[in-house]
């Protein structure tokens, strides 16, 4: 009958069972080098069984059909397919829930002993079992702020240039350039930062902020570009008709229209900067201090997790996980506020534009 559906489902079933069987197999065969052969055989067997069960299920349904049931053979497949889709969608909720529960659970030992002092103390000593996260929270906020201050004017400038000024022939290559910048792995920027930039600038809040700025610029730029491109052509033409120069047109028509969306884009960039680990871990200097000078070295939450994890004791790991939970909550709050702002501004522009 329905060959494409069949083949696709077979492939998916095989894959799903493969993963599940390997997981179970893994639980039992720790450190045992009998090898992947058993696992492979077991998972193929599992896939075959799953397929067989499914066929039986489908076959069993046919005789049960009454004369007035005009649904085709496919409707068992139909239900199964919907079930798969719902399951995949639920996975998102499941993972987020698991993150919150399991990580908070692991962080509890430290959170319980430190209490509120975890967020207000600035001593972090594994030896004394005292963990105060304040210098790391400060470092995260400070470096992200530096990154935003550098990245925002540049990203907005590039977005405006691409959408309003660039000749048509230049637009596409420029968009490509931004996309290229976005796919350079952050660890490559980190490597460049520590081996090429740090020898000149030192390892400091500023160096970390610059590297973070380079990384969030493409994100803010492409979001800003999307927002700006929704400006109504009529508004722009109206500004020109009143004798406005191009810059006056931008300030009178483009910017007021896109204000909300641009703020949202910047907030999303901020969320990204706060969670960025590797580059910060390499160039921030790893000395937990609360300093105002951008030229001092410091430390940030993701950076300290990456740097201390390798040699951490169990208690310290719990403290690092508590840092991760804090970071998780902070980035989610920033992202939620950002999306709220973007939604509101989109709704408004839709309302005005009819």
């Amino acid at each position: 009958m329905n060959q494409t559906t069949d083949r696709l489902r077979l492939a998916y079933f095989a894959l799903a069972t493969l993963v599940v069987v390997f997981a179970v197999y893994n639980a039992f065969a720790q450190g045992d080098h009998l090898g992947g052969d058993i696992g492979l055989a077991a998972s193929s067997l599992g896939a075959a069984i799953a397929w067989f069960v499914h066929r039986r299920l489908a076959a069993k349904h046919v005789p049960a059909r009454s004369l007035t049931d005009l649904r085709g053979d496919g409707h068992v497949d139909d239900k199964l397919f919907k079930l798969l889709a719902v399951g995949a969608a639920t996975l998102v909720l499941l993972i987020l829930g698991l993150i919150a529960v399991t990580m908070t659970n692991r962080a509890l030992p430290v959170l319980r002993t430190m209490g509120i002092k975890f967020f207000t103390s600035s001593t972090w000593s594994e030896h004394d079992g005292v963990f105060g996260a304040l210098p790391y929270i400060w470092g995260t906020i400070y470096t992200s702020a530096i990154a935003i201050v550098i990245a925002v004017p540049i990203s907005l400038g590039v977005a405006l240039y691409i959408t309003q000024i660039a000749p048509v022939r230049l637009k596409k290559p420029l968009v490509y350039l931004i996309d290229l910048l976005a796919v350079v792995p952050s660890v490559v920027f980190g490597l460049w930062g520590v081996l090429a930039l740090a020898p000149h600038l030192g390892r400091s809040f500023l160096t970390a902020g610059i590297i973070l700025a380079i990384m969030i610029t493409p994100i803010i730029t492409s979001l800003a570009r999307e927002v700006i491109e929704t400006t109504a052509q009529a508004d722009k033409e109206a500004a020109y008709a009143l004798g406005a120069t191009r810059w006056e047109m931008i300030t009178a028509a483009v910017l007021p229209h896109s204000k909300g969306g641009l703020v949202g884009a910047v907030m999303l960039g901020l969320g990204r900067a706060m969670g960025e680990t590797i580059a910060a871990a390499l160039v921030i200097g790893s000395s937990p201090q609360i300093a105002l000078s951008p030229f001092k070295s410091g430390d940030s939450m993701p950076a300290v997790i990456a740097n201390q994890w390798g040699e951490a004791s169990d208690l310290q790991k719990s403290a690092l996980i508590a840092l991760a939970v804090t970071l998780f909550v902070m980035t989610i709050v920033v992202n939620l506020v950002a999306s709220r702002i973007v939604q509101r501004s989109l709704a408004k522009s839709r309302g005005v534009g009819g």
Binding site: H75, V92, L96, V158, V183
Partner: protein, 296 residues
């Protein structure tokens, strides 16, 4: 004699004014931001290609296949990392892309604007913002603590990062499929599942493929989630389930922390390999999109 007089009084060209000067200044400033954004990209690429190329091309195939030597020993070897990156990212793709596409199918074809669908859509947006290091620690807690360091843990972490990206990209592509196609398929008596698999998915396929490729490119460059999950093998490990593995990104991070030039050189070589891999994936994604739009 009157003619020049007339011509000046009739000259309608605007005279230079502060408004026009300001316009020129701002135009130049906006153009200079483009230069500002290009500078770091160019500098990084020069460093990566010059320093990485020196070791990568001097030991051409060997660099990509040989074992990783001890830190202080100069010379090639990133084989375990190359294989580890390909295997962990490949496995993450196998997990995240089918699940992500299925999730998007639910959102666009079944859920629509229902309360559950809106919740999932919102949560998947929230999940996109979860820092990759948090995702890594999450997999450490639920997987690595039970199954030790292994490549598959890294795959799971990368898959968790890719899932919301794929859902988002695929849903946007499914939304572009015109409703007429679906209705035509129903009119022929097809079930909903069959309509989705044989009509809707093929129509959206090129967009889903290029969106997934971009997600894969991002995942291949991720470092933080791998630090806690896959370990640091120095010899090639062909199993995702037995023993420690490693990845290019993780090796770059470790080598960047070393003060030894030999290790740093290997880091540059690995960086070049990783950059070439991610750029190749991006270019393929572009080509897929270009071919698909030309067909239409």
């Amino acid at each position: 004699m009157t003619i020049p007089e007339l011509s000046t009084s009739l000259d309608l060209r605007a005279r230079p004014s502060w408004r026009r000067t300001k316009n020129t200044i701002m135009t130049v400033l906006l153009a200079s931001t483009v230069v500002a954004i290009a500078i770091p990209l160019v500098l990084v690429m020069i460093s990566v290609f010059a320093k990485g190329g020196k070791i990568l091309f001097a030991h051409f195939p060997a660099f990509l296949t040989a074992s990783i030597p001890p830190t202080r020993v100069a010379g090639p070897g990133m084989g375990p990392a190359v294989l580890g990156t390909l295997m962990t990212t490949g496995m993450a793709t196998l997990i995240a892309v089918p699940l992500g596409v299925l999730g998007a199918i639910y959102l666009n074809e079944y859920g629509g604007q229902s309360r559950f669908a809106r919740t999932v859509r919102f949560m998947s947006m929230v999940m996109t913002g979860v820092p990759s290091i948090v995702m890594g620690l999450f997999i450490y807690v639920v997987w690595t603590l039970h199954f030790r360091l292994q490549g598959f843990g890294g795959s799971l972490a990368l898959a968790c990062l890719m899932l919301p990206v794929v859902i988002n990209a695929a849903e946007q592509m499914l939304r572009l499929v015109p409703n007429g196609l679906r209705e035509a398929s129903y009119a022929l008596g097809a079930t909903k599942a069959r309509t989705i698999v044989t009509v809707v998915l093929p129509a959206a396929m090129s967009g889903i493929v290029s969106g997934s490729l971009l997600a894969i490119a991002r995942a291949a460059g991720e470092t933080a989630p791998l630090l806690f999950t896959i370990g640091a093998a120095r010899v090639v490990n062909t199993s995702l389930f037995h023993g420690e593995s490693t990845a290019l990104s993780a090796r770059i991070f470790e080598n960047a922390k070393e003060a030894v030039v030999a290790a740093q050189d290997r880091g540059w070589g690995a960086a070049l390999a990783l950059v070439l891999l991610t750029f190749a994936l991006t270019v393929i994604a572009r080509v897929v999109t270009a071919i698909a739009t030309r067909k239409r």
